[in-house]
Symmetry: C2
Subunit: 143 residues, 2 copies
Amino acid sequence: MNEEFTIGQVAEKTGLSIHTIRYYEKEGILPIIKRNKSGTRIFEYEDIQWINLLNCLRNTGMPIAQLKEYADLTLEGDQTGEKRLEILKKQKEKIEEQVNTLKSHIDLLNLQMEWYPRLKKVNIQFDHVMKTWLKDGKLPPEL
Amino acid sequence: MNEEFTIGQVAEKTGLSIHTIRYYEKEGILPIIKRNKSGTRIFEYEDIQWINLLNCLRNTGMPIAQLKEYADLTLEGDQTGEKRLEILKKQKEKIEEQVNTLKSHIDLLNLQMEWYPRLKKVNIQFDHVMKTWLKDGKLPPEL
DNA sequence: CTACAATCTAGAGTTCACTCTAGATCAAGT
DNA sequence: ACTTGATCTAGAGTGAACTCTAGATTGTAG
């Protein structure tokens, strides 16, 4: 479990580019990365874990600035656990919201797609649905 | 059903800013918007429907350039129906993928959150899970 | 008629998150 | 030792999608 990785290997494993990993380090959202005597970065297994968490948060829309906050809290140590937990909880809620939004987007697309084959008839329905959409931002209950 | 709206009203109804609506028009992804004799835009109900569709596609990651394609196809008329249907179908699949990704992100966050209360014990599990994650990009089957 | 808020255009500026470049150094195989 | 490919830094450049500005014009409530 004391494997070591070069930046290239980490890039491959995490799906980030080498540039991006260095950029993240510069932004201070990576833990302190070990170096060998000539300055080449040496990543450990833990670092990859961390990057995967970052990726998860980034992919769900958390901006770098907030990742920085999270990283700083982590640096402060155990007593910030609660705060970090809170951040993760909030992000989870945000993702759940995103899932719901995406689902209603799927509904809208399905609707729009039905529109093509049965034009005249569904046009009226569509109109009705759109009115509901405009009014309260969701599909009418009878769908 | 022949209601008319100002740009400000449309902004409020669609959640876009006034600037963004004008920007979208400049990019050619809005239908031709009526004007009154002195040049003020007059939006109709249809235009709002269209913007809602745009919003749906944009929010799920479709770039402006592709919206432009879609808009151009629509301008060409009925004979492009199939192509447009195809675009919407693909986007729907993309959204479904996004939902799945988000769900596995939630799993990862849940895991990371469990980590805090029961530290030592779950650390090992977490490690195991992360290894699976790194290897095949998903959670181990036993979870 | 008079304010005052909303709209208009063209174009410049901003933000975010990378992404790339140049020029130097280093690591590993033969 | 030599070569080739990977890595290093500092800093510039990019692309997407807005977002804002200035200066003029218009719509409307009192």
